[in-house]
Amino acid sequence: MIKETTVGLYRTMVRIRTCEEGFVDPILSKEIRCPVHLCTGQEAVAAGICAALETEDYVFGNHRSHGHFLAKGGRMRELVAEVFCRETGCSRGRGGSMHLIDPSVGMMGSVPIVAGTIALAMGAALSAKIRNDHRVAVSFFGDGATGEGVLCESLNFAALRKLPVIFVCENNLYSTHLPIDEIRVSRKIYELGIPFGELSHRLDGNDVLAVHRAARNAVDLCRRGKGPVFLECLTYRMHGHVGPDDNIQGAHTDIRPPKEIEKWRKKDPIKKLERHILKNKIASRKELAEIHAQAEKEVLDAHCFARNSSFPREEELGLYVYKN
């Protein structure tokens, strides 16, 4: 992999992580009130997949989509302003954290209805197939979405029509509060694609280089009419389901064993890539430190932008119900 790509993946993950952690204080102070699902720990999936896409390709997200939005090219100012529910946000303060969109960069939307955008991404792929414009669509969903029937309906139809869609399951082992063993008989989510004849792989979702390689391969297959592809990315969210609460056993959201969290902290995707970069002398410590410093600056700027932006005007409550 060329240096620019590797460093680019690192930069994207650092931007996402810094942005996510920047939300913690304003959430705790209740400056941010909309539900925020942080993706700290899962950055490699968004970064690795989206780096394999062109601007015109389509991405559909879910409730935990800050990373998808940034990785697909959405502007951090618009993301942060939306989480602050300001008029300058990407959804003009009407959507909040769970409704992120920027069609100009192919970020087609995200919704908190679990599995709600899987069929939509497939429909975008269907339109690409009809127009023969070689675009690819990606659907990001979690392990919880495997409980919804629409996933199997979509896997079937996408395979039937050989649609250029990549189903990306970010398996973070928890469906809200329920551990995966309490929602599924098998942990092997990638096997869902197999009966439909789809190329299905399980990846280390914290290894951004592995995710990116798999994504490039999947995109290439889709562009050549050999889609769809199913990718299960094993990962872990370092925070709890919603907000900065970590859902640690013993706390009031008594769910995850501290040992498990510690195990995954050691698999941190950013640290993992950092070790690879330094070991192979792809970039220097100084260069990486500069990436972190830039990200801090960008986040600060985005928060200033959001705080200086006004809320949507009261009298504009009824705008945008319909397009005129």
Partner: protein, 331 residues
């Protein structure tokens, strides 16, 4: 409109809307169960697959949620998609893409994207088909902000409203009634649209307003004809669009006649007739001479057995009886 018209059935009028819109705009696609079947959707899809190919006329597995979602996604990605549910009972599987996704998309994205999709649901009842093959669910969809809902009563409107629904940048639920498919009417050959949100007065009258939609417009016209024989001059309103309602037309008519009877093919509670009644009541019409009446299905699932079925659906004698009771003194 200077154009040639000829007699055409309701179903072929819909078919013509597709032929013309798909020729005009290559982003228009039709997706759903039975579009290549000889019986599923009547002859509404006749000749389409031959002319436009299986890429744009997409027959599907029985996967309403996913297929409807695919239409929504295709619409977000630049197509104008029509998704058909040959029995709208099955459309309940697709409530998520219709109500959660398409209806909300423009609002929750602050107008950054809209969804030009038509959710076409066919009311397909009678013939002892029972509770899950008979339902008229237009009121459920009318409840959700962001959706428009149309219910054409005539072949002219069936074509014109389908064209308008396809051209609209918003999600439109197009509800038709299989009982109308063989009715004939004058339909222009050329492409035209019927404006969404505008009703039509099908018969003028001065004693009572019969406010109806879809199949109930014909029944109301038959009732009006009977009522004329007993000296009651009924006005018949065809709502055409049930969301947004043509409130002006409704209020003007009721102000004039002083009586309102709302006739709907759906259930009573929280139904279309309830909504129309509430609009009339809220507007405090000083000329109102009697209470508003609703003629709807009872709050009972559709039965199978013919003895029950004949007592279930609203037909014109029921409308005549209700109006005569309401206007009673005059007869």
């Amino acid at each position: 409109m200077s154009t040639k018209t000829r007699r055409l059935t309701y179903s072929l009028a819909i078919n013509e809307a597709f032929h013309q819109m798909m020729s005009l705009d290559e982003s228009v696609i039709l997706i759903g169960q039975g579009v290549k079947s000889p019986w599923y959707v009547g002859n509404t899809a006749q000749g389409l697959i031959k002319k436009f190919g299986a890429e744009r006329i997409i027959d599907t597995p029985v996967s309403e949620n996913s297929m409807t979602g695919a239409a929504v996604g295709a619409a977000l990605a630049g197509m104008r998609a029509v998704v058909v549910h040959p029995r709208m009972d099955f459309m309940l599987y697709a409530f998520d893409p219709i109500v959660n996704e398409a209806a909300n998309w423009s609002y929750m994205s602050g107008g950054r994207a809209s969804v030009p999709v038509v959710f076409w649901g066919v009311i397909n009842r009678g013939g002892e088909q029972a509770a899950q093959h008979s339902q008229a669910l237009h009121a459920m969809f009318s409840h959700a902000p962001g959706l428009k809902v149309v219910m054409p009563a005539t072949p002219y409107d069936a074509k014109g409203l389908m064209v308008a629904a396809i051209k609209d940048d918003n999600p439109v639920v197009f509800v038709d009634d299989r009982w109308l498919y063989d009715t004939e009417g004058d339909v222009p050959e050329e492409l035209y649209s019927v404006p969404i949100g505008k009703g039509a007065i099908r018969k003028e009258g001065k004693d009572v307003s019969l406010i109806a939609s879809s199949f109930m417009v014909g029944e109301s016209l038959k009732a009006a004809s009977e009522l004329g024989k007993c000296g009651i001059d009924a006005e018949v309103l065809d709502l055409r669009t049930v969301k947004p309602l043509d409130v002006d037309m409704i209020l003007k008519s009721v102000e004039k006649t002083g009586r309102a009877v709302v006739v709907d093919s759906g259930w009573k509670t929280c139904g279309l007739a309830a909504e129309v009644s509430a609009i009339i009541a809220e507007n405090d019409i000083k000329t109102l001479k009697s209470p508003i009446r609703r003629i709807t299905l009872p709050d009972i699932p559709a039965p199978a057995g013919r003895s029950l079925e004949s007592n279930y659906y609203v037909k014109h004698p029921g409308i005549v009886d209700a109006v005569v009771k309401l206007v009673g003194a005059q007869v």
